[in-house]
Assembly symmetry: C3
Homo-oligomer: 398 residues x 3
């Protein structure tokens, strides 16, 4: 029973109320970051998920209905029928579009009203009605959506690493939360998108969280504290982490974060070479996200590569998650939207600071009427070359 | 992979924020529609449900305690004891009323405080206390409540179709949600009352939703697109739907909507004759409703007549409900309170438009100090004659 | 079917909106009552619950992380790591404190940052960072926390009845909700703390709720309606309930309520003598509380004494709870925070009135810059003598 005098500095009493950074985190219609996000094509979902059975999907804080008409065209419509508001989730998909269950109005994938069967002649004024819709494209096994102002729609870019798939390989697409610390059975990560995205520019959590803390979740070499150099790049930023390994080899590991929420992370087993895929941290709403990956893999692979040391998150008990935390625990426990007001950023957080700064600049550029960095309007220059990868230095470089 | 130019009209970007029509839909104390509703006797629940075990019931956004004292009188009291606020749900029912569990105050069905056992002489000032209560009446197997200003209390009316029950028949009372697309096992429909009520003036959804869309939910003849004539009537409105059937017969189907939320729908199997019952769309609160029906049926019938083609809603999977939607899916999917601001009403919605207009007029009449249409103050003229029914035209009329 | 005229006074229509008394009930940081509460040492939890596995605990509306470092010191820290906000719930406990999982910052039980392993030299500026913390003490098998302004921290007092435990006895500590009408398997009582605390100054509910209403929950003698004398005392109040029992004996039962939320209730079986323990009604947040008891008991007793007539609450069905209500039903059914605005206090509620009045005075005293009653600053005068107990009058006193 201690009665000793107590040091009285820094107690929790009287601390200021924390607040989140709304400008950088909120993504709903009309918000600064939401308008920024809407200037890019967003990977919505796997192409295979658009079928003749309508499904509900949320992105950037908007609930929408996805379907594929019987002519094969994917459609993404506002859920409430333009007539009386019944959900098109209960609609019937036909060759030309989707028909509302209540009074049978038929809408094309572009929202045109094609039939009003309870009106004379199928609706003499049906051209005055338009179901709110979003333009879609399909590429890399994904459906892409543009949710921004029509006049500012960029080209859907290509990424070099996803082109020219060699024989014996294929593109794997996945919404697994594995690389956010979850696993293949979980898609929604319940925290703000920026908590996940900025983690990509934070190389220093790897030797702590993924190595010394919870055991070697990747490979032992990742536990070596790296020398890191962060740099702005035209459409985002990158860092190079230099490690001298125990066997004398020297490695440069280049990781990229591109606008609006692209993450290009080299193989965490330190396999040599450029990244084999691209990831996107898609905001579902202000407090949840869905990852999206496209990756070149051998034909017989049908899941994202996982470290053999990582336990499947869904199979861990709460006690095990507490004892062996990973990215999920570190980032989701920051809260639905973390409070920048309470942080104490240090030198090793320079990537996080830089990412927030450059993100804020782009958000304000959009507010000022400009197109944000990384939007491409010339179809002839819409191929993005990636730089990320694990590269061993040659002895002569030493 | 489609790269074609995209038609750019009517996208969901930049659409205005939707809003509901508060005046017509909200029913809590002090709201315009709530005050209108409170000028009528409301069917509260089945008489059989008022017992010596108190029960909780919500109506017009108010939570109340229903019981029947041991002298047989039903009582409906504000739940929080006027003494210290413990719920009378835990009260003990006695011959003269209900006694609070905490300190034993006893209240009559009219809220009079009859005993305060912890006070000298059982409470010398107990007459200063009154538990808030509402007047009740019992008729047609229902308990009726008047929740409005005492000075404006109308007579509880009678309906001709519910009087003079002939031998071999009886009055069936039910809270089934069957006629809102649910079934006998579900009572609460989770959407605003007006979405259900206005559906009664909407004959055109029948050939779509109930016939071509989900298969024949009623009878094939209901799938014939009708000629419809809507009319205002003193205390609401009605429509006549004329159909020429395949066998050459011609039918007039008359459906009524009376204030505040009465629905009189003829037999959906097209059995000839006047409606055999009355329904009420009772607002539970702003975002849920409970139907109430009284119907003349043969002595051995104890459930609402149901179409043999309708699957029991409670037994359908979500996938089946999506594939075979009914009134529940069409109306509940409009949302907790639908957004009139987003609708595009057409000619076939004339009944809905008219119903909203006449409803709004009555709401504003109450605000202006008048009694709304359909309230009756002369007990000698309190019999309401209904007009609804299925009537075949005679050949000579053709 | 009753058609008789209806008495029209006191109907529920038009009643004013109720409101709670925020000054007396809300306990969050910066609220009047919250600031008052924070001037006292609060019993946080059982000492045994502070272990090397961090746990989450809520008190006075604040979520905190409790742990015991591997040197044996208990710590109570703000959950969000001062670095980047990950929860210390996922921290690793070491000899000197707790280490965040994300980047490994190490904090002592007093919030000092002892290591920043991703920074050069373990953090050259780590002394600029402090994890918000609260001072703790351990006594009577409990961990006590002071959550107020450092300059106004009083001495943690002792209670005479908990000192000098004789051989064959021990101090039993418990968070059981048994004495709030729950049982040993339930700790959180879902209502405002004051509803429970003021019940202690309300002797008259005993003959009703605990005797005539639900059967004899304690002993038959408690059903005798007492003569009660309430008195203010320096740091709270007390009452003496005089009963003349059937066997001619006369008993004085003294019950105390001390600031901020101490309850000292004599044995409810009417065993003679001073109270054998102390209870605290600790506010978890505005709408829930946790009881805390310390009691002298024989060595082999490991649960709070319970009346054999009281059924275990967790084992009762909702129907049984309605039929046999106890303190839980009476107080929790008052609502999350009861509405004083709707009460009608009577003579038998004088203890409740007095308690609220004296509580309000102390709350306003703190607002005026004073120390509230019952806070002790002189360690030599920090022993509190209790007065509560069941005392039989000697015949000569009669």
């Amino acid at each position: 029973m201690q009665e000793a005098p107590i040091a009285f500095h820094g107690v929790a009493y009287g601390r200021p109320k924390p607040h989140h950074n709304a400008e950088l985190t909120e993504v709903g219609p009309g918000t600064p970051c939401g308008e920024f996000m809407r200037r890019y094509w967003q990977p919505l979902t796997l192409s295979a998920r658009a079928t003749t059975t309508p499904s509900q999907i949320r992105i950037l804080g908007e609930d929408l209905i996805l379907f594929r008409d019987r002519s094969g065209r994917p459609g993404l419509l506002y859920p409430r029928c333009a007539h009386r508001g019944s959900s098109l989730f209960y609609g019937r998909v036909e060759a030309e579009g989707i028909r509302c269950c209540y009074h049978g109005w038929l809408f094309s994938v572009e929202g045109e009203c094609l039939d009003q069967p309870c009106e004379p002649c199928g609706g003499l004024h049906k051209d005055r009605v338009r179901q709110p819709w979003y333009p879609l494209q399909e590429r890399y096994g994904l459906i892409w959506v543009y949710m921004g102002p029509p006049a500012r729609m960029p080209v859907l870019p290509r990424w070099d690493v996803l082109e020219d798939v060699p024989e014996g390989q294929k593109l794997l697409v996945s919404h697994s939360s594995l690389y956010a610390g979850g696993d293949d059975d979980v898609e929604i990560v319940p925290c703000n998108w920026l908590q996940e995205w900025e983690n990509v520019m934070d190389p220093f959590h790897i030797p702590i969280l993924h190595t010394s803390f919870s055991g070697v979740q990747f490979v032992p070499e990742m536990g070596v504290m790296p020398e890191v150099n962060w740099e702005y790049a035209d459409a985002g930023m990158r860092y190079t982490a230099y490690r001298k390994l125990d066997d004398g080899r020297e490695m440069d590991r280049v990781t990229q974060a591109l606008f609006p929420h692209v993450r290009i992370v080299p193989n965490v087993q330190l396999a040599e070479g450029p990244s084999s895929g691209i990831g996107w941290v898609v905001p579902v709403d202000d407090t949840s996200l869905r990852l999206c990956f496209v990756m070149k893999v051998p034909q017989d692979v049908d899941r994202l590569p996982r470290s053999p040391n990582l336990r499947p998150w869904s199979q861990m008990t709460p006690e095990e998650r507490q004892a062996f935390p990973g990215d999920w625990e570190a980032q989701v426990s920051q809260g639905p939207i973390t409070f920048h007001s309470e942080e104490n950023l240090a030198g090793s957080d320079r990537g996080v600071s830089m990412l927030r700064r450059t993100l804020g600049q782009q958000i304000r550029a959009v507010q000022a009427g400009q197109d944000p960095a990384g939007t491409i309007f010339d179809p002839d220059h819409a191929l993005i070359r990636i730089e990320a990868g694990n590269f061993f230095r040659k002895p002569s470089q030493g």
